[in-house]
């Protein structure tokens, strides 16, 4: 199959992290089927997928813009908005639900005044609900930033998140 050498689009800006994205795309020969892998790389590098990123990736992989957007919004792991400084993921898997994950989520919702998937106005904390972390043996489970905590109580949760809210870091 003959390949047409379109001029490769250039990265949205000078940010060095685009090199990581470029190397992922190069590794897969800029094939359209590498869209999801590339989006993973972008999200890992930048924390989220913005329009510029989607436009760049779509153009580089020869994927229609609407398809790129369709894929990015189909998979809940991808986010189109930047996350807060801290993220708190409450597991809502069955085991956690049976052990009161809803109460944990409720406590955070009222404390942070946001719904799952949103970030507080000051950009400090993002609240997320996960389908299942696979830590069912430790239900109910919560992930504070990258760290998994098991058998979490509403009090412990509130205390931990309150710490984030008060710090200026």
């Amino acid at each position: 199959m003959a390949t047409i050498d379109f001029a490769r689009p250039t990265a949205p800006n000078q940010d060095k992290r685009w090199r990581i994205v470029e190397s992922t795309m190069r590794r897969v020969g800029h094939h359209p089927r590498a869209l999801i892998e590339t989006l993973h790389t972008v999200q890992e590098a930048f924390g989220y997928l913005d329009r510029d990123a989607l436009r760049y990736v779509a153009a580089s992989l020869h994927v229609p813009l609407s398809r790129a957007y369709g894929v990015a919004t189909f998979y809940h792991y991808f986010t189109l908005k930047p996350a807060g400084q801290h993220t708190c993921v409450v597991c809502t898997g069955t085991a956690c639900y049976i052990k009161g994950a809803n109460q944990l989520l409720g406590a955070l919702k009222s404390m942070l005044k946001v719904e799952p998937g949103e970030t507080t106005g000051d950009g400090k904390v993002s609240l997320l609900a996960a389908r299942c972390l696979g830590s069912c043996g430790l239900a109910p489970a919560v992930v504070y930033d990258q760290e998994v905590a098991g058998k979490v109580s509403a009090e412990g949760l509130r205390a931990r998140v309150a710490q984030w809210m008060s710090h200026d870091a």
């Binding site: 329009r51 436009r55 229609p64 609407s66 957007y69 369709g70 919004t73 189909f74």
Partner: protein
Amino acid sequence: MTVAAGIKTLKIDDRDFSARAQETILDVARQNGIFIPSLCELKGLSEVGACRLCLVEIKGSNRLFPACVTPVEEGMEVTTNSERLQRYRRSILELLFTERNHVCSVCVSNGHCEMQTLAQKLEITHVRFPYRYPKAEVDASHQRFVVDHNRCILCSRCVRVCDEIEGAHTWDLKGRGIHVRVITDLDEPWGSSETCTGCGKCVHVCPTGALFEKGRSVAEMMKRRQFLPYLTLMREDRE
């Protein structure tokens, strides 16, 4: 393979038919004037088997089969219109009516909408399930066309015709589940789309009033689809 070897005989609603091996149950039914409802299927576009209205029964199986993607087989006995099928079809269409805001009386497609016509044909006099009344946008940013999400049934014909026939792939779907919407480019206003060629094919394959031309009154917004078989034929000849 000789032509004779590729011929299958089958029964549809107790009548005998012969068909070419590559044909689907829906093809054979259509050729012979047997009505099977469908909304996502449109001759000339790829099939997706998504609307589930063309489900039929095949003797020997408890499962139901979408006629649009089920190829004929030798000795197949198909039932297209049992009491059970009618019940399921009505329920599916009723669900579709609850999903968005289908207000027929003030729709540009009133009188020539495939969904409205089908509802009458399936003898739906009212919808038993509660309506959702979602908030849906109307995008009139395009110079000539409008997309009204209130009336979209997500059949994806616009997506397919734009991709498969026009080759622009301006349309696609975003989100999932009940939140799916048709989008142009990066979910941007249609009018500012960089990829739309303005050909209007999407408008004319749309089964409802979700896509329409500006400035057309109800009686005028007839969808014209002659281009589809024509383009398909012309392309086949070229290949």
